[in-house]
């Protein structure tokens, strides 16, 4: 018998082994375990271990002032959650808030001053010593013929220090940055003959015309975005959203109708809607009575050919009329806009046109979404729009709270050829147009700041963000920056109050008014401010995740307004384009303009799973229907969290 093992035998053995192994758990288990093994390299950071605690504070990444609970291990924040009973947020957090504790580790974070050439990527930033940075800044400020001190988060207690800096520096102007929502509000307010203050209340809107406004991500607070989702899902009053945009944004996907216009033609589109309202006599009766120049607006818009408007924006005149009719008859309606980015220089005209549209549809009437009340006679700070193009030598931008400015295109428009952008920010955010010197600020969670705001019903609000992390050495907050700049420019600087002192002063002023209520995060109650005995007590509440909101302003008659005051810039731009006879859009004249796309709602129909981050919003908000009962954590936990019932 031949016992020699041949090559054929080996091949048979190998084949049999392969089949046998495939039929055994070995390869499958090995795959699973190997995958896990590759996720656990020794150099992966290990999470902390230690006592778990909660730190309640306020998110300051945007002016919404959402309540924020840091879950901490050994005192280090490891996750963020909403606070369900918080009046500003009702437990919601946006994706930025959910990951706010990661921001300090962002790869573009800086710990020392850097210089960056115009248009260079952030990796080419050149480190500077503090002395080098301030020497360079001082030299430019001394020689600057026009300096703009840009406050990316105005109305803070520290904003007063920036205003003082602008008054002290030569040729400097303090300019507060406005959100896109603010710009529409300001445009509307400017139409009134008396000084008015305006707020938008989306809860009472039935039809929204959103002109590029990111309704569900960033235009307003995450709580309002969650409320929009709920109304779309059938909870609460019905809501119809028409979103106007040249590209399919996230809001376009959620909207009932996405109106696809030619890029840059949004202002013309809005003028087309206004024209349709006027043509059909659908303007609000109160507007015809209170607008002192209603007839003038009609005359000014009459020569603008409706066919020209249709060709420019890519909408048929019939479609414009359909939308106009819906706004007029399916109200209360509200038009919103986002003008950024604005390569054509039309954003302020867009806001003006939208403001005019809101007045014509009567959005300001009683129980309507636009709340207008008599304002105080304070002088408004200039806006960036009002600065002469190409005139600014130095921008000094305090982006310490927001991380970056939201007005990059406006800066590019207003800066001179050799403009220097000095940023106070935790991050290097390259700007295409300017050389930059970036001074390091503490990241979110590393500094104390107040978060002032205005709620939808016009109440003033105030909360405080406290540090949850130790800030890095060598960083500057607003007060430090202003003192250092004055020393760099003038050689000396008067001692200014610290941020804490400024905020405490503000809190003391609020207490003195005796108006409004305070949300106490300790026991989730809302108490009249009069029940607090001292400003120290109010400080304690606000630095523990509480919030103050003032009394609702009394709605007094706001009198007459002038439509042409706000419509004129848009009409002039329109006229200029018509005279130039330029069509910026190359489209086939013979073909019909693209029809608007009706979006079948995949979310409501359950065919699409929404992003886990959005579901997290709904989870933490307590608005979801999956919590059948409230529960208390055991008493040894420092905070009792009770999700509110759906």
């Amino acid at each position: 018998m031949n016992h020699r093992i041949s090559r054929r035998d080996l091949l048979q053995f190998a084949g049999g082994s392969a089949l046998g192994l495939l039929l055994s758990p070995l390869p499958w288990k090995l795959l699973d375990d190997s995958a896990i093994w590759t996720q656990n390299w020794p150099w992966n950071a290990e999470p902390l271990r230690g006592p778990v605690s909660n730190l309640l504070t306020t998110c300051s990444l945007c002016p919404s002032g959402c309540g924020l609970r840091f879950r901490c291990v050994s005192g280090n924040p490891i996750s963020t959650h909403g606070i369900p009973e918080h009046p500003a947020s009702h437990g919601t957090l946006c994706p930025a808030g959910l990951l706010a504790h990661h921001l300090r580790y962002h790869p573009q974070r800086i710990g020392r001053p850097v210089r960056l050439a115009a248009g260079a990527p952030f990796v080419e930033a050149t480190p500077l010593t503090t002395e080098e940075a301030f020497n360079a800044i001082g030299e430019r400020l001394r020689s600057s013929k026009s300096t703009v001190v840009l406050d990316a988060r105005p109305d803070r207690a520290a904003s007063e220090v920036l205003k003082q800096l602008a008054r002290t520096l030569a040729n400097a102007t303090y300019v507060p940055e406005h959100t896109e929502r603010d710009r529409t509000i300001r445009a509307m307010a400017s139409a009134f003959d008396q000084q008015v203050e305006i707020s938008f209340d989306l809860s009472s809107v039935r039809t929204i015309l959103s002109v590029r406004a990111p309704l569900i991500d960033g235009w307003h607070s995450p709580d309002r975005a969650a409320a929009i989702f709920d109304r779309r899902a059938g909870t609460g009053s019905p809501l119809f959203i028409i979103h106007v945009d040249s590209t399919p944004s996230r809001t376009a996907e959620v909207a009932d109708e996405w109106v696809k216009v030619h890029p840059g033609s949004e202002m013309v589109f809005v003028l087309g809607i206004i024209g349709a309202l006027l043509d059909e006599g659908l303007t609000a009766p109160e507007t015809r009575q209170r607008a002192r120049d209603f007839a003038e607006l009609r005359s000014a818009l009459a020569p603008v050919s409706r066919e020209w408007i249709s060709a420019q924006c890519g909408m048929t005149t019939d479609k414009l009329h359909v939308i106009a009719r819906r706004l007029a008859t399916q109200g209360p309606s509200l038009a919103l806009a986002d003008g950024q980015p604005d390569p054509n220089g039309r954003s302020s005209a867009l806001h003006a046109a939208v403001a005019c549209l809101n007045l014509l549809t009567g959005s300001y009437r009683h129980r309507a979404p636009v709340r207008a009340h008599r304002g105080s006679n304070t002088e408004a700070a200039p806006s960036l729009d009002a600065i002469t193009d190409g005139s600014v030598d130095v921008f000094l931008a305090d982006e310490s709270i927001s991380g970056s400015t939201s007005t990059e295109h406006l800066l590019a428009q207003k800066g001179s050829r050799n403009c220097l952008l000095i940023s106070l920010s935790p991050f290097v955010v390259p700007h295409a147009a300017f050389e930059q010197i970036v001074l390091p600020a503490p990241a979110f969670g590393e500094m104390l700041t107040d978060v002032p705001g205005v709620s939808d019903d016009g109440r003033e609000t105030l909360s405080v963000t406290i540090p949850a992390f130790r800030s890095q050495e060598g960083t500057f907050n607003t007060v430090d920056l202003c003192a250092a700049l004055l020393r760099a420019v003038a050689g000396t600087a008067d001692a200014s109050p610290s941020t804490e002192e400024l905020i405490k002063d503000r809190i003391a002023s609020v207490l003195k008014t005796g108006k409004g209520h305070v949300f106490k995060s300790s026991d989730r109650t809302i108490v009249p401010i009069g029940s607090l005995s001292s400003s120290e007590e109010l400080w304690t509440e606000l630095t523990a995740g509480g919030a103050w909101s003032g009394d609702q302003p009394t709605r007094k008659p706001t009198g007459s307004f002038r439509l042409m005051r706000i419509a004129r810039p848009a009409l002039e731009l329109c006229e200029q384009e018509r005279r130039d006879s330029r069509s910026r859009f190359t489209h086939d004249e013979q073909s019909a303009p693209p029809a608007p796309v009706r979006i079948v709602d995949p979310i409501l129909q359950g065919t699409t799973v929404i992003s886990p981050l959005i579901s997290k919003l709904r989870e933490e908000s307590g608005l979801r229907p999956f919590h059948p009962e409230a529960f208390d954590q055991a008493s040894s936990s420092p905070v009792s969290v009770k999700p509110s019932k759906a």
Partner: protein, 195 residues
């Protein structure tokens, strides 16, 4: 058909099957004895009458909690009560030296998982036995079986190498948790567990 022609093929199948079904599962896990023996049954029995929550904290405490600290044991065992070797070792090596017992946790989840006991026992009213089986009645602690490749406890996969025939409380992989969530109508989102 002459099977002799394919004998090596059949040998290969048999060898691979033995390797895959017997040798591999045995070799995959290393058995490590717990640092101390412990009888759950004695503690919940009539003579002592304790319950799970007397020692295992369900509220937010130290990360990876529910395993009691040695101070909890010291509440009763500051001095030896009985004569067992395990208790003597507990008192001499841990309680008197105030050293934590380095328990090997059978249900230890990976570092990237946030698990809250109170959310399950308090909110969802899940009993301990539903996830931990009859562990609370054990007379002694079985060895900790550690997967040599992934480093996880065998309890995460379950005692059956194919996962077929696992008891309802066996297996704590992500899919097991997600399935239970789905059955109970809980929305799964990444950040729920991976904070």
């Amino acid at each position: 058909m002459n099977l002799q022609q394919y004998r090596w093929f059949l040998v290969g199948i048999v060898v691979a099957a033995i390797t895959g079904w017997i040798v591999f599962p045995a070799a995959l896990y290393e058995r490590i004895e717990q640092p101390l023996q412990f009888s759950h049954n004695v503690h919940i029995g009539e003579s002592v009458g304790m319950s799970c929550t007397d020692c295992h904290q369900m509220n937010a405490g130290e990360r990876g909690a529910a395993i009691p600290a040695v101070s909890k044991c010291a509440e009763c065992h500051s001095e030896a009560i009985g004569t067992t070797e395990a208790e003597l070792k507990l008192v001499e090596d841990y309680i008197k030296t105030e050293r934590e017992i380095p328990w090997l946790v059978y249900s230890q989840q990976p570092q990237n998982v946030h698990f809250s006991h109170i959310a399950h026992t308090g909110r969802a009213n899940i009993r301990c036995e539903e996830c931990h089986g009859p562990h609370g009645e054990s007379e002694s602690l079985r060895p900790f079986e550690r997967n040599r490749i992934s480093g996880y406890s065998r309890d995460i996969w379950g005692s059956s190498i194919t996962r077929v025939g696992n008891a309802p409380w066996e297996g704590k992989k992500m899919d097991d948790c997600a399935d239970c969530h789905t059955k109970r109508g809980v929305v799964n989102s990444c950040l729920k567990c991976h904070q």
